[in-house]
């Protein structure tokens, strides 16, 4: 995909309106690459303005056709929890928008309210609650509604978990793991304070009209069952009810669906001048991630070649040595190696499509606001 700089074809009689004009090499480099010099990267910003090269007859505008032609997604790795894919042919701002949405705006379910019935452990109630909040839940947020302040918790907006563990007196210390959170599909079991009128159905903290089991296809739970919540010594106990609601990462990081999501620009390593012999071997040895390799020249000579540019982590060892001038490290400006690490509520590929939907929604909102 990366474009090679075109052979410079100086023409004095270039006509400005000629669309197919090519930029000179150095400008084309500036436009499409970030050059990572030993001291600092240059041309990081790129050219945003559509008419930046108008004087040379080159159109720098973004057009849908161009986008459709060039845009490509290439999935490199996809597992249950994370994925890596290449996103080619977009501007950094678009790639970044997806990253930002993934971190902050794709909703998930997370524990928000704790009803502490008993906690005699050494861990303070608030800290315990905070820890519970950060546990990733295995619940598809798309099946739930947001709950607002005045809403009554119901089966559509709240998931209820129960945690009741105690450590027998005289036994060993125990560790409470997230797996011990028990899903209550029928809603809260704790009754509200005043038990004044007997006979009435106990009023609880939720009002479920039906069991969540009936709505959902698969039972809810926590994604990882081995997260330590607390440790209990002999005679200590924890009894609580946790209510999870839908939210976004902007509000609190516990609702962020990703551990992190980020991209890096595709590395491009260019050997500007032939590096041969011992120098080449040194270069190969120098790179900790083995970007370079040796190519045997027929006559027993050796030449350094770039073998795995993608592996470059930009330690800049190669450009700092004696043969530093002969190598240039670059990043391709419109090629993003994107990684999404899901916390588990949704698979990473779904997360990305969700992010796209959210961006779409936003765009629509802008359009409708403007029109």
């Amino acid at each position: 995909m990366p474009k090679k700089g075109t052979k410079s074809k100086k023409a004095v009689d270039d006509v400005p309106d000629q669309q197919e004009n090519k930029l000179p090499d150095y400008l084309e480099l500036q436009r499409t690459r970030v050059v990572c010099n030993a001291d600092a990267p240059i041309h990081t910003q790129g050219f945003q303005y559509s008419g930046a090269f108008a004087a040379m007859g080159v159109d720098n505008s973004v057009s849908v056709e161009k986008f459709c032609k060039n845009f490509k997604i290439d999935i490199k790795r996809l597992t249950e929890d994370d994925m890596e894919f290449d996103m080619i042919g977009v501007d950094a701002s678009i790639a970044n928008a997806f990253r930002r949405i993934l971190i902050a705006e794709v909703p998930t379910m997370a524990i928000e309210k704790i009803f502490m019935a008993d906690n005699t452990s050494v861990i303070a109630d608030e800290v315990l609650s905070h820890r519970l909040g950060l546990i990733p839940l295995d619940a598809d947020p798309r099946l739930f509604d947001y709950i607002s302040e005045n809403d009554v918790p119901n089966e559509r907006n709240t998931i209820v978990f129960k945690l009741h563990v105690s450590c027998e007196k005289g036994s060993q210390r125990i560790t409470v793991k997230s797996g011990e959170l028990e899903w209550l599909p029928e809603g809260s079991q704790l009754s509200m304070a005043s038990p004044a009128q007997s006979g009435d159905k106990q009023k609880t903290f939720t009002s479920f009209s039906q069991s969540q089991k009936e709505i959902l296809e698969k039972p809810l739970g926590v994604k990882f069952k081995d997260i330590t919540i607390a440790r209990l010594g002999p005679g200590q106990a924890i009894e609580l009810e946790a209510h999870a609601v839908k939210g976004v990462g902007k509000v609190h990081a516990k609702w962020s669906p990703v551990a992190t999501a980020w991209y890096r620009m595709l590395p491009e390593v260019v050997i500007l001048e032939q590096i041969e012999g011992e120098e080449a071997e040194e270069l190969v040895k120098k790179c900790p991630v083995n970007v370079f390799d040796i190519e045997d020249l027929g006559n027993g000579g050796k030449r350094a070649v770039v073998a795995k540019p993608r592996a470059c982590t930009l330690c800049r060892e190669c450009v700092m040595g004696p043969c530093g001038e002969k190598i240039q490290l670059r990043r391709v400006r419109d090629h993003f190696i994107y990684t999404i690490e899901s916390t588990g509520a949704l698979p990473p590929e779904v997360l990305f499509t969700e992010a796209v939907k959210i961006l779409e929604e936003k765009c629509e909102r802008v359009i409708s606001e403007l029109s």
């Binding site: 970030v34 950060l134 004044a196 990462g249 980020w262 982590t313």
Partner: protein
Amino acid sequence: MTVPPADDAAKKELPPPSYRSLAAPVATPVDKFALLPAFLKVRGLVKEHIDSFNYFTTRGIRNIVEANNRIEARNDPSIYLRYTNVYVGTPSVQVDYKIENITPHFCRLTDRTYSAPIRVDIEYTVGKQHEPQHKKNVLIGYLPIMLRSYACVLHGRDEAELARQGECPLDPGGYFIVKGTEKVILIQEQLSKNRIIIDTDSKGRVIASVTSSTHEIKSKTVITMDKEKIYLQLNQFTKPIPIIVVMKAMGMESDQEVVQMVGRDPRYGDLLFPSIQECASERIYTQQQALQYMDEKVTYPGAGNQKEGRSKSILRDVFIAHVPVKNGNFRQKCIYTGVMLRRMMDAILNADTFDDKDYVGNKRLELSGQLISLLFEDLFKTMNSQAVELMNKNSDKTRSSPSDFSQLIKHEAITSGLERAISTGNWDIKRFRMHRKGVSQVLSRLSYMASLGYMTRITPQFEKTRKTSGPRALQPSQWGMLCPCDTPEGEACGLTKNLALLTHVTTDQEEGPLMNLCKSLGVEDLTLLSGEEIHAPGSFLVMFNGLILGKHRQPQTFANAMRELRRSGKIGEFVSIFVNEKQHCIHIASDGGRVCRPLIIADKGISRVKECHMKELRDGIRSFDDFLRDGLIEYLDVNEENNALIALYEHVDQDDVERSSITHIEIEPLSILGVVSGLIPYPHHNQSPRNTYQCAMGKQAMGNIAYNQLFRADSLLYLLVYAQRPLLTTKTIELVGYDKLGAGQNATVAVMGYSGYDIEDAIVMNKSSLDRGFGRCIAMKKYTVMKENYGDGVSDRIAKPQRDKDGVLLRQNMRALDEDGIAAPGQIIRNHDVYVNKQSPKIVDRRGAGALLKDMDYKDSLAIYKGVDGETTVVDRVMLCSDTNEKLSIKCIIRHTRRPEVGDKFSSRHGQKGVCGTIVQQEDFPFSERGICPDLIMNPHGFPSRMTIGKMIELIGGKAGLSCGRFHYGSAFGEPSGNADKVEDISNTLIKHGFSYNGKDFLYSGILGHPLEAYIFMGPIYYQKLKHMVLDKMHARASGPRVLLTRQPTEGRSRDGGLRLGEMERDCLIAYGASMLIFERLLLSSDPYQVQVCRKCGLLGYYNYKLKTSYCSMCKNGENMAKMRLPYACKLLFQELQAMNVVPRLKLTEG
């Protein structure tokens, strides 16, 4: 990267196979490090305190009681009491005639004093019977016990036993618990006693001074040289006495003998001549004449022994009091004076021989044991004299039946005296006219480091206001003894010091055997020698604890012999032998309070500690004491260090030093720093003041305080929720246990500018990091409510919260209460909520009505919680206990969990503090190619002027540590010995893991998505959250409370005070011309007051509300009254002036 860095250094150093490699000294100093933990294992961190106290409880107290063991009635000496034995029991309290053992933690929680009974065995007479009676285990008082001392129940306990007692195993002990608060008796620094100090006074005169201290008296003797003549200055004489007169008065009548005593060198004679001449001109030739002359100059001639002459008794008892006079023989004092004169003249002839008061060798540290022993001696004597007094009174009154002494000994005096002194810190000892304040201080439990820091702190004796820089400056002699970094800023800078890691402070050692030993090693007795012989060339005077013992002809041989004895354990390990070539003296010291430290002995530059010894140490066969006993290691004090040549490393060549002249080798260079500065990584790369700042800040950092922190009842406790161990540690950190009780978190820091909210050291924080628990802390505050007893069964009561018939609370602010009327643990408590529903009887002094009080006889005296509105705080614990007066005290501990907010203070370990400037969403934060997003962003401007290179190395070291999975070290001066990782190795590790060698990463902007235009220095740095939080400080008010007297708004946050528009602010407004604003701020918003002024007399009148007229009480009419507005303070001033007979009059013009 785990290249053992010391290896190649050793290889370079080791010469080709030679005799030396056969002798195989410790190959590299890395091995020698094991001595440090071994040392601290046997010693603990505060051994000096505990040793000192142990000395008191085992020996000191015995000596005191023995010295005053007999008291007898004045009228009849056959009625007596004799103490035959004294011992300190186990800590206990007496409850209703039952003795209960107590533990320190119990005392902390119940506000008791952790003290043990002092018991004596006595022999006494009853009545006229002369058959002595015996009694054992008589209580004479309770002694507060130092934790972890011999008398403490925690002594020698292992971790599990300590845990059972509710004690933290990492707590060093060394403090007292008095009335529930932990008190440290700080180490007091003093000029050494009984030593000659040659100095100049404020007028530039040469003086020789000795502060003598014996059990009976403390005195200061000064010999000055004024106008070429030499005088003695003593408080007991009104005028300086010519020194020759003094000599004559002591029986040295011949001038020749005096000159001989000083030395035969003609230069001494020349200097002495004017003094001799002066004496002759006064016509004083005999002892009798001299004494007569002196008698006239005595300050209080009336007092004293008339028979003998006042001045003779002064000469005997006060003048250089520590030199004994046996059977009226003043010869020893004469010789001592001669030596003083000689030293003075040496100083005049050669300015080098002046003594330096700031020299650490001339200092003594007074520890808790010594201070308590002073106090105890005083109290014990008082108790005895009170008993004698009582006895005398009794026998005067009823001549018939004299009682026995055992009934008259009251133990309350000693108990309360000791308790009061330690709890207030006021040491008042009448005998020595000693009045010291602030001797003991509350042990700060803000952080583990703060409490450790308290234990090593040394406070100066002199006043802090002195501007002189001398005592504040870093002294070369404090190397290895006192920490060069750890000192406060400001007033006490350089005066308050801290002990270094390996320093030990000596306790007294018995003098008798040592003196005998010296004599048998060839010290010639002083009394047998003439002045001529004493100063014979080549022979050295032997000074023992400031006394002249005699002389020795072969000083070096003698010193070597003594040292050999010490190394073989025949004499105490802390005895110091110091050959002073300049003064031709050998100083032997066994007194307490000297600072010393262990060093490895080297024979001709080759360490005695060999690899085999270290192996034995590692295998646990050998302990640190074995090293001492086998003469491999010895303690040197500051003076003896001057006779030693100490190499830093054995294997490193010192270019300018002959190897064979090296006598000792340092154990570890990092031990020159103290405990608190030991937690700074790479301190030797930092600008020095930064380390000092960190020493102050490390004590404010929140973290874990002790293993028992959640079971303690501190009045204020700050805890970090997720405290971590630093990624870049030092050896000191591991030694003191900071890795187990950390006070900070490893934050990923990016050094870059961001958002503009990071100027002036502010830091930008990542909101997601905060969400996930970074910097989260718990503040716990104790609120105590006393259930007061008024006698007669009348007392406060705790009522259950009132409810209506449906069980709904009558008052909403009682929602946190349990049914017993006290807040329930776990309840959320908000501002203005009640935590103890206490009610007091309306009438207190009604007799005998206790049981009959009805509900209506009580009024509410609720304990209301004052918190911050909108914050949820929780009742953590409620503790009920009865105090020593059988009153119920209710302690509610209220907990508040806080997440960092803008304005909270953070700091790295390099004196770089900063507040949180803004909190930014994670998606806006820059991220690296590996997806790493920093936790906080620091502005690079923090570096150039601060020059904290150590912080940069910490960053890359931490980053390397993360990538290779090994904690990296940054101990002080540790690179050559492998206790600190070298930057080169760290860089190699970074490269190996694909980072740039310099720690700079390629980052993308989180806002725009494009790469940043520079590589960003990013990695983990250990950050501390400091106790200063906005929540505790923020304050604003509109109108509010006013001071009663001036009617101006109150001051200070705690009183909801106003914000002051100060003088400078006022100046600004004046300059700007905003007169109405000044008027509004200074009058309307402050204390406006309407007054009636009489236009005629100019005085203030009043307004008669009944007649609705104003009236001038001076003119007796209301005709010329005018109304005006004044600040109330102004009106107050007028009236106060009038009260002083000053008439302020107001002259009014029409406006």
